[in-house]
Amino acid sequence: MSHSTASVITLNINGEKHTLPVDHRTTLLDALRERLDLTGTKKGCDQGQCGACTVLLDGRRAVSCLQLAVAAEGREVTTIEGIADGDQLHPVQQAFLDLDGYQCGYCTPGQVCSAIAMIEEHAAGWPSAVTADVRPQAEAAPLTAEEIRERMSGNLCRCGAYVSIVRAIAEAARPGVPRPPSPSGELGHLAGSEETEGVA
């Protein structure tokens, strides 16, 4: 491999720094899976259509198959392996487990990452296509089943576990369920955060 096609980069993943040489063509997804043995992030389509490879980039959900590894330098990457706090599952993980929000489990890491960021997006006042009142001064709409369905439609599940997925997310997002802070802290309100590159 010639020098022009590879670089040594440092990735910050789940709070740990990893320095490694990567082929410039390597996606963040392949770097995680093939180079760092973080295989919890799944490859379902490799072209941004299924959401199985969803990770958190600076706290926002992104499909890692459409992100080059070299472009992830300096970003805070959280994968499914970094979601639980030791043996303590994240409430979203716990709800998926308890309420059977999956079947084969292949889309699950992406669903879990996506749901965690989605709950934050909603809490930050981001509207969705089914939000009735999208004016900035509108009161926050509740996170209804319809809102969850719309906001989670970037994550395909071929087993058809959607009904349980929605139920699990609603349970985890219930007021009073303690949730750890987003990996990147606060999400900006929509007005101040228009860049949504690779958003699932």
Binding site: M1, G40, G44, Q47, I80, E81, G105, C159, Y162, V163
Partner: protein, 711 residues
């Protein structure tokens, strides 16, 4: 004296909700699927597929690609190891698609023509995309339509005759007061498990090891042993976690290619299919063209039932989508005729896909029943009750259990069917027309020989070994509950190990036969073990193991019509401005024997109903007649139901006991739940709009063009 259970035997594991044994691994990302297991010195294979639909490969320009960085090999028909595809395996003769690189003929677009193997997947991919292949192209025929001149009636087999009948069909149709004669079509559909097919192969101390994603590891191991002329004991295939299968995960080119490549390169090789490659290499559901003729007395009693179904197959292998089989179970008539016909085209071979035959067949037959109900002025449920057979309509055999009417009764109560105005086009909600529909569901409940072992460990736990596969069904958990119940211990004391061909022959996860077949083997082994433990006086360090083989018992099972049944209910809204159909709610009530794990069973049943919704409204693969290839072969071009497409769906079940059953009345539940859903939705669309939609999917353009028949 060894006591197995302690002072109080523990019972009731079967029938009690249990979260998935591997659930923690799945929600934390720790579960390793086939493409997730790391190996030192792993090389990566990337497939090159044909760009023509029919012809010959003139040349593969491998040299420039071999000079590219990291490229280790380019395998093609000119240099690949020879394989033997002339054998009959567990499920019949192999599709010649698996005998890759054995000749220069191209039988369809997307046929494997080369495998590039390189140090990294990036290098393999770039080299594969750079590989130039020259072809001599020949004219192809990929056009599927009713009345294709190449149509023929296949030979059929003892389990499913191609054609069956009784009575004088034309005479009964003539004598019928009411006749329905309608044609229905369903499109080509693709399984698209979220996990693409992947396999790693390596030689380890004289044994071939394959880490795979499949529905049956002994099945795949035997096929590979046959193909490569190996001693079966020298092949080990494992598939610990499988990211969905739905009929597509048998022996496919990726395993064969991984074995070829590791044999040539003497290092581990992984071949992962891309999403696009799945569309031509792992099978699909054939499109169907069906004609149903029903003749009835004014009260709806059937005098004639005729169901003629056509599907396509490839020119290299015959696959029959047995769409006309449903009527042989569901409804009797004085004259009864059902036939499955086939036409061979220059396309990949279709295969089993969730409820093969029953899914498309039920769309035609259950819509036709609804049309008959309308013409007779009889409630659709009453019509079905009026035609409920006492025995198999064609076989004459008794049903082991048949509780379809109980499903309709319970479903109607919960769905609020009694309040329904039978006239179409009566309900409106803003710009949405609202309608409700129903349909019956059924699927065979078969069983096949399997082996299992159960070991009593010195620490008081038990280890079950069986080559089952958990493709998302919850099989690992279900077998844990079944073993615990048979052992009369808590499920926590039972460890179930699956998906390793070294555990011995077992039925594949398919045909709704897995759980029933495996449960029989596991409970038989437990029975043996309990006898050994009663005799014994202590458990040695290696434990005490009992083995079972159900072949003889399966062969001695009395002949019955054994099926699961169900009743599907759907409410839809039809947007008269955009033509969009949205399902508002669905309810499925099933009679599916003894439910092992209510938590995962409900998930599986609802999942099947989501498949039915997806089939009714979304799924459709389009083949371009000019190139012979699919258009938009990816998850954007091929839409299956996303979260926002799926409303609240409920599934439940009624009692469905079978006291004579040696497996405790366990039936399969993986497929019955998709059956009838598309018909229930189409019938609801008629109820909303007054227009029959006989072609799937019910797309907005079709709805707009058809208009409405309401005031």
């Amino acid at each position: 004296m060894t006591t197995m259970t302690g002072p109080t035997p523990v019972t009731g594991a079967v029938g009690t909700a249990h979260t998935r044994i591997e659930g923690l691994d799945k929600v934390t990302g720790a579960a390793r699927y086939a493409g997730d297991v790391p190996y030192a010195e792993l090389a990566h294979g990337w497939l090159v597929l044909s760009t023509i639909a029919r012809g010959r490969i003139r040349s593969v320009e491998a040299d420039p690609v071999l000079a590219m960085p990291g490229v280790l090999a380019v395998l093609h028909h000119g240099n690949a190891p020879r394989v033997n595809a002339d054998y009959t395996g567990l499920l019949g003769r192999p599709d010649p698609t698996v005998a890759v690189f054995q000749h220069d003929r191209v039988p369809f677009a997307g046929w494997p023509v080369a495998l590039v193997v390189a140090e990294t997947s990036e290098q393999a991919r770039e080299a594969a995309e750079a590989l130039v292949v020259h072809y001599d192209e020949e004219p192809h025929d990929v056009a599927f339509f009713a009345g294709h001149p190449g149509t023929y009636t296949p030979e059929g087999n003892p389990r499913m005759q191609a054609e069956a009948g009784k009575g004088d069909l034309e005479a009964e149709l003539t004598a019928s007061a009411v006749v329905v004669d309608a044609e229905y079509t369903t499109p080509q559909e693709h399984h698209n498990p979220l996990e693409p097919h992947a396999a790693m192969a390596r030689w380890d101390s004289g044994r071939l090891e394959v880490i795979d994603s499949n529905q049956g590891s002994t099945w795949v191991a035997e096929e590979l042993a046959n193909l490569f002329s190996l001693d079966p004991s020298s092949v080990r295939v494992r598939a610990e976690h499988v990211g969905g299968a739905f009929g597509s995960k048998g022996v496919r080119p990726h395993q064969v290619l991984a074995v070829m490549a590791t044999t040539v390169l003497h290092r581990p090789v992984r071949v992962v299919l891309t999403r696009r490659q799945l569309f031509s290499l792992v099978g699909y559901r054939s499109p169907t063209a069906q004609r149903v003729r029903l003749g009835a007395d004014p009260d709806g009693r059937l005098r004639a039932l005729d169901h003629q179904a056509l599907n396509l197959t490839s020119k290299v292998h015959e696959f029959v989508e047995t769409s006309a089989g449903l009527g042989r179970v569901m409804y009797d008539a004085d004259a009864h005729h059902t036939v499955n016909r086939v036409v061979a085209l220059d396309v990949p071979t279709p295969t089993w896909m969730r409820a093969p035959g029953a899914a498309p067949g039920s769309f035609a037959l259950e819509c036709a029943l609804d049309e008959l109900a309308e013409k007779c002025g009889v409630d659709p449920i009453a019509l079905r009750a009026r035609n409920e057979p006492d025995a198999g309509p064609v076989s004459g055999l008794p049903f082991s259990s048949r509780n379809v009417l109980a499903c309709f009764q319970e479903g109607a109560r919960r769905f609020g069917w009694a309040d329904r105005d039978p006239r179409p086009g009566q309900r409106r909600d803003g710009r949405w027309l609202i309608g409700t529909g129903t349909a019956a569901a059924t699927h065979p409940s078969g069983v096949a020989p399997s082996t299992a072992s159960v070991t009593a460990e010195p620490d008081g736990t038990f280890t079950v070994r069986i080559t089952a596969a958990d493709v998302g069904t919850g099989a690992r958990t279900a077998l844990t509950l079944i073993a615990a119940e048979a052992l009369e211990v808590e499920p926590e004391r039972v460890r179930v190990r699956i998906a390793d061909s070294d555990f011995g022959q077992a039925m594949v996860a398919g045909g709704s036969m897995g759980t029933r077949s495996w449960a029989w083997a596991v409970t038989s082994a437990v029975r043996e073990l309990r006898e050994l433990l009663v005799l014994g006086d202590g458990i040695p360090p290696e434990g005490i193991t009992a083995r079972s083989n159900t072949a003889e018992a399966v062969g001695a099972l009395p002949m019955r019509e054994r099926h699961a049944f169900g009743a599907q209910f759907a409410e839809v809204g039809v947007d008269v401005v955009t033509g969009e159909v949205r399902v508002r709610r669905m309810l499925g009530i099933f009679a599916a024997g003894r439910i092992v794990n209510p938590l995962t069973a409900r998930s599986q049943l609802v999942g099947g109903m989501v498949w039915g919704l997806s089939m009714a409204l979304h799924e459709e693969a389009a083949r371009d007649q000019a190139s012979g290839a699919l258009v938009g072969a990816d998850l954007a071009g091929y839409h299956f139901a996303a979260n926002a497409d799926v409303p609240l769906i409920e599934a439940d079940w009624v009692d469905d006991p079978d006291d004579e059953d040696p497996v405790g009345g366990i039936k399969g539940i993986g497929e019955v739940s998709i059956v009838g859903v598309a018909a229930a939705i189409a019938n609801a669309v008629w109820h909303a709009t007054g227009v029959r939609h006989r072609h799937l999917p019910i797309r907005p353009d079709r709805v707009l063009l058809a208009g409405t028949a309401t005031a």
